[in-house]
Amino acid sequence: MDLSFSKEEEAFRREVRAFLEDNLKGDFEKLKGRGGPGDEHSFVEERIEWGKVMGRAGWNCIGWPKEHGGRGVSLNEEVIFNEEYVRAGGPGRIGHIGETLLGPTLIHFGTEEQKKRFLPPIVSGEELWCQGYSEPNAGSDLANIQTKARLVGDEWVIEGQKIWTSLAHWSDWCFVLCRTDPDSERHRGISYLLVPMDQPGIEIVPIEQMTGDSEFAEVFFDGAKTHKDNVVGGVNEGWKVAMGTLAFERGASTLGQQAQFERELNLVISAAKENGRARDPQIRQRLADAYIGLRILRYNALRILSVQEGADLGREGSISKLAWSNWHRDFGKLAMDVLGLEANIAEGAPYELNLLQKAYLFSRSDTIYAGTNEIQRNIIAERALGMPKV
């Protein structure tokens, strides 16, 4: 067991640091600490530009194999990259859906043509992706998908509705789970389609959130089209692909998210020192608890990342979502308690909230999206602990 890094890895760290120092400045200075969940709609144009700068220098998709345009870096180097990215205040990665979800899915399940067509623009930061999974009646019960696609000539024609799609406005493509066998039920008869967003058959309607922002949208498909070859993993085999996408998540990307949490925690610590609540024994306990909790998220991730490729992630692999979402939700309340009366005062009218107010509100979605905590607990109990379904 060793939590330190080798000489070569430290050299890689210096390389990352130098790139960020040389590039994350000037017009990009204002992006520091911005973006990411809860702030995803901020500085989108500029973050797209930043994504391209990263891409040109080869810093997108660094964990992908070289043959697919990545650097093929080790998990340790991914950890280092994330550490340095956070340290430098790197903004929320606008291309993360393509990099962490769609890309690995195509690398695993895609055809050669699909890889050739779709992977390079993810690496270069030229094309953004969004995810079309949830529907109004398929949330926790994802298999209850109603959006349908039928093959007409050379094209899939799609009818239906997706919801909670983040960055839909800005995305070039969406991976959409559709029912392609009209007589099918549940997990069978679903296909994983790649659909261009810029077309008449797609309408995007922003969802106004409790934060007053709209980083999620509803996406309506009314005769939307995509070429028949844009199906991943075979027709009616989409469930397997969708589940595969989830399995690629090994936690390297959660390190980036922890970076955001760390920034938020540092804001709260500063606020507590400034307004004197850092002297309150109860607040001290809670701040320390939050600090310990964040450390734990990191060590949880490092344990999972240390599992050999292909090996079982173990019991610890199942708790990640429950752990971080609970941490952030509790943190949101703590942040407000530290701010005290000031917690209720916005930065500006009519509803310009500060980052901590956003965290307080946004963290309420953390325990809901990507599988509610209740669903997570069922999964943990059934898969990791072997408790019976019925």
Partner: protein, 380 residues
């Protein structure tokens, strides 16, 4: 960076599980209850001679294996899991660590081979009747008289304090205050002027004692860490022990989870195993979340201990002890609840864990104490 056990460490854990599952059972705990026997000396001898666990942390030059705090973790986890009752923790995590960090060459040469062979046990006596864990709260004092030191004071909650062959005691120079004047001495358990009294305990899986020092005389050669700052030395010993205890707590907490899940599959109500109800599943999932989180921070603390990173250890040992204490208590409580009525009986095992969880939580500093320590490390 590699944050997993290697194959040797995994095998050590499996071997410890196999051995302790048979030898350190709750049936034996029940059977020993109420007797004068402090621990199973024969079992301790086998742990030393057959398994070599006592030698693990001890350098090879003192007949040890020269391994680290990380290598010790698989054993501690299993001892927590099986509620092992012997003086292993006190001897190794308190006593050996004290000598490794502060002992003179002569002390190490004399004592460590005996410990490695299982012929002598050790403990550390630092806490006092007031129960405070801050170093400046130490009241037991010493006076220097020529080549001798004379010790006065009362130590309480001393792990295995009655059976220990040698006691490393923390005292302050008479008249000193705060963290100044703290020194450690290694004192024979049967020293003249030392009275040792076994304390009846809520948690029957660990022995605690009160030690009264009334003019106990020791020579200069009894000083541990003569050239070191005594308060800092004591803190680093305690931090290593806290990191170790956190691992033990993880083992106990995980046993509670496993016990609860097994019972939930066996116990039927409304015609189905209670483990099929979401109310029970969600409790179990929360237990796993806390067990694995505690494991992550406890392991990290011991990596810091093994790499002698004192500053990081201080923060991580407190983080680990705070989190693992809460996690163990949580799991022990939920285990009783999931067991329902039988969870309240002496016959079933959950109560042993519920009690050990509480005792461990207080031992070496409660979670609140450690969170305050973390707050300071954070610059608050």
């Amino acid at each position: 960076m590699h944050f997993r056990f290697n194959e040797e460490q995994l095998e050590l854990g499996r071997a410890a599980r196999r051995f302790l599952e048979v030898e350190s059972t709750t049936d034996k705990l029940r059977a020993a209850f109420g007797s004068d026997e402090l621990y199973d000396a024969e079992l301790y001898r086998r742990i030393a001679e057959e398994l070599g666990w006592l030698a693990l942390l001890i350098p090879e030059e003192y007949d040890g294996l020269g391994l680290t705090a990380v290598d010790l973790m698989p054993i501690l986890e299993e001892m927590g899991r099986s509620l092992y009752r012997g003086p292993f923790f006190s001897t190794v995590c308190l006593g050996v660590n004290a000598l490794l960090l502060g002992g003179s060459a002569a002390q190490k040469e004399e004592i460590l081979p005996l410990v490695a062979a299982g012929e002598e046990t050790l403990t550390l006596a630092y806490s006092e009747p007031h129960g405070r864990h801050e170093i400046d709260a130490i009241e037991t004092h010493f006076e220097e008289r020529g080549d001798e030191f004379v010790l006065h004071g009362v130590k309480r909650y001393v792990l295995d304090g009655v059976s220990a062959d040698r006691v490393i005691v923390a005292a302050r120079s008479k008249g000193s205050v705060g963290e100044e004047g703290i020194r450690l001495f290694v004192v024979p358990g049967d020293a003249e002027g030392l009275t040792r009294k076994r304390l009846p305990t809520l948690d029957i899986s660990r022995n605690e004692a009160e030690l009264i020092f009334e003019g106990v005389r020791v020579g200069r050669d009894a000083v541990v860490g003569a050239d070191l700052d005594g308060a800092a030395l004591l803190e680093s010993i305690l931090d290593r022990a806290r990191a170790a205890l956190a691992v033990e707590q993880v083992g106990g907490a995980e046993r509670c989870l496993d016990m609860a899940v097994a019972y939930s599959l066996e116990r039927k109500q409304f015609g189905r195993p209670i483990g099929s109800f979401q109310a029970i599943k969600h409790k179990a999932a929360d237990m796993l979340w806390k067990v694995e989180s505690a494991r992550s921070i406890a392991y990290a603390a011991n990596v810091a201990a093994a790499s002698d990173d004192g500053l990081l250890l201080r923060e991580l040992a407190s983080s680990a002890k705070a989190y693992a204490s809460d996690a163990y208590f949580f799991c022990a409580s939920e285990n009783i609840q999931i067991h329902g009525g039988v969870g309240f009986t002496w016959e079933y095992d959950p109560h042993f864990y519920f009690k050990r969880a509480k005792a461990s939580e207080e031992l070496l500093g409660h979670a609140d104490f450690h969170r305050e320590r973390v707050a300071r490390a954070m610059g608050l």
